[in-house]
Each structure stands twice: as C-alpha cells, then as structure tokens.
C-alpha cells in the first residue's frame, strides 16, 4: 500500500516535472513594430505576466494565459508613451491590461505551432491566431513568434488617430518567451 502511494506520488511528480510553468520575464520580451508614415518604429512592453503550463515535447496540451501591463509600454519616445496611454489609444486608466488566452493549440509540423484564443485589449475581445515555434534550451524552452494585430479593430487609436495612412492598421506583435520549471 505504501509502495503504491509512493509510486503514484512519483508519477504525479514526474508528470509535473515535465511541465514548464515559469515564464522568466527577465529573459523574455514582448515587443511590437508599428508603421508610421511608412517607417517601422519599434516598441515593447516592460511588464507582463503569464500563467503557463506546457510540456515542450507536447505543446498542444499546454495551457497559457498572458497578461500585459499596457502602462509599461515603451513606444520609443516619452511623448508617444504618454499619448498612447490616453483615451484615444489604450485608455490605460480604464483598461490597464491586455490578455491572451491560448485556448486551442495545434501543431503545424516541423516544430511549428499555432495557438488560438481570445485576445482582449481595451474591452474588446477577438479570437486571434498566434503562430509560434518551440526551442528547448537547458531546463526550459523558448516560445517565439509574431502575429499581426489590426489596431483599429481594438480601437487602438481613435478619432484623428484612426487614420491608417499615418499609423498603419497592422501592428506586428513579436514575442520571445523563456519558460522554465518552477524554481
């Protein structure tokens, strides 16, 4: 009986050990590229958080929820940073977080995957498909990818800013997340 309990416990432990749950935020990056008057401008978010449980050998079974602190945005200039926190852009006072829940993940083959689920920004939620690749490193794994965010669909940039001739509708969101085992 004791042996059986011990064996069960060990099994649970090994199953758990395979799952990576800790997003190492210091190593990870969430950035974006917007196009202003035809010019690519880089930006990033300094603060984000995630609840992840993923076996890098079987990412299809992963569970993941990401949360980005919009006010931690870096758009390249102080002037732009304070502007995008305002009502016409992200309205961070009312909507401080953007979230993405990976509710379905499917393999595309060759180490490529596709997560889909609701992306919520500024009170608007839309099903979004996020392709990514997995690359094991040490005791963890890198999850890297990018997707196009149509900013006007989330009302990011209203009024005069909804003019996509000045700031293009397509914003490329790039992420590079390192997930390790719980410390």
């Amino acid at each position: 009986m004791r042996t059986a309990v011990f064996a069960l416990g060990l099994m649970a432990l090994t199953a758990h050990a395979a799952d990576l749950t800790q997003v190492v935020t210091e190593k990870s990056q969430i950035g974006f590229v917007s196009k202003q008057m035809g010019v690519s401008v880089d930006g990033s978010f300094r603060k984000f958080d995630a609840q992840v449980s993923v076996d890098p050998a079987k990412p299809e079974a992963a569970k993941a929820r990401f949360e980005v602190d919009i006010a931690s945005i870096d758009c390249g200039s102080q002037e732009a940073d304070s502007e995008v926190k305002g009502k016409s852009w992200f309205n961070t006072a009312l909507f401080p977080k953007a979230t993405f829940v990976a509710s379905r993940i499917r393999s595309l083959g060759g180490g490529r995957y596709e997560a889909s689920g609701p992306l919520s920004i500024k009170g608007i939620s839309r099903d979004t498909v996020v392709p990514f690749i997995v690359r094991a490193e040490g005791s963890g794994a890198w999850f890297e990818g990018n997707f196009v965010l149509p900013r006007t669909q989330f009302k990011i940039g209203e009024g005069a800013w909804s003019d996509t001739g000045t700031v293009a509708d397509e914003v490329l969101v790039k992420f590079k997340l390192f997930v390790s085992q719980k410390k």
Binding site: Q36, G38, V39, V41, D42, G76, A160, W161
Partner: protein
Amino acid sequence: MTERYNPVTILLHWAVALLIFAAFPIGLYMADLELSPTKLQLFSYHKWLGVTVCFLAAVRLGWRAGHPPPPPIAGMPRWQEVSSVAIHHLLYLFMLIVPITGWLMSSAKGYQTVWFGIIPLPDLVHKNKELGELLEGVHETVAYVLALLIVIHVAAAIKHQFIDKDGLMLRMSLRPEGKTRS
C-alpha cells in the same frame, strides 16, 4: 551683358531655395506641436524635404565642379568678392550639414528616415536618448546658421539689385529676358 549661370545651375539653385523655404518653417512649427497625426506627417515631410536638399546640394557640387560659376562682375570691391565666395562655400557646407544632422538625430531617436516613405536611409547611429537630444540641439543650431547665411546671401543680392543696380541678380534669374526689358 554679364555672363549668366548655366541653366541647370539656375534651376537647381531655385529648386533648393524653394525646398529650404518650405523645410525651415515646417521644422520650426512642428517641433512644438503636440503629438498628432499632423505632427507625424509634418515630421515626415520635413525629413523628405531635408534629404532632397542634401541630395540636390551634392548634385550641385558635382555639377559645379564641371561648370564653374561665371567670373565676378567687373568693378566689385575685393572684400565683397572674398566674402561672396566664403558665403557660397558656407551655404554649400550647411546645405549638407543641416540635413545630415537631422538624419543622424532621427536615427538616434529611433525613427529611421525613409525618403518619401519609400527609400530607407541607413541608421548610421544606434538609438540613444542622450545622443538624440544632443543632435537635436546641433540640428537646430546649424539650421539657424544656415538661415543666417541665407539672410546674408539674399541681402547681398538685394543690395546688388537695388543699390548697386549692377544686374548681378540677372545671372541667376529664371527669366532674364522678361526682366531686362522692363
């Protein structure tokens, strides 16, 4: 009849004059604007104009090497001859320096310069906040120096036209015939 500048030289001179007269006030105005789509547009137009000025200034220097300017008009005092050459050289220098500092400043601030939104200019410096602010000051200062040089240049031309009445301005006129008759 005094010898005129080459027609290509004349055309380039006035084209660059027009571009600078557009770029300078846009630059002054946009700098203090609050962030808006208009501001982004003006910054782009200003940068496109500046790059064009720089490009045409280089073309002018090349053209000038093969087509030297006409000799100074007869009877001009030596100091005027010397200072006119000096001002012209400085004008060329600053027509290059002002756009180049603007281009570097843009790169340092993390905004690449893409000529007419089509032709990307390489970022010669990396994004660096302190360098960006330093170059902003440099760009502003050299732009004012260029403006001052232009004021001197225009004042001298006006003096030749209306005080000396020596017909010097005809050498750079786009329509010399029409003016000589009046």
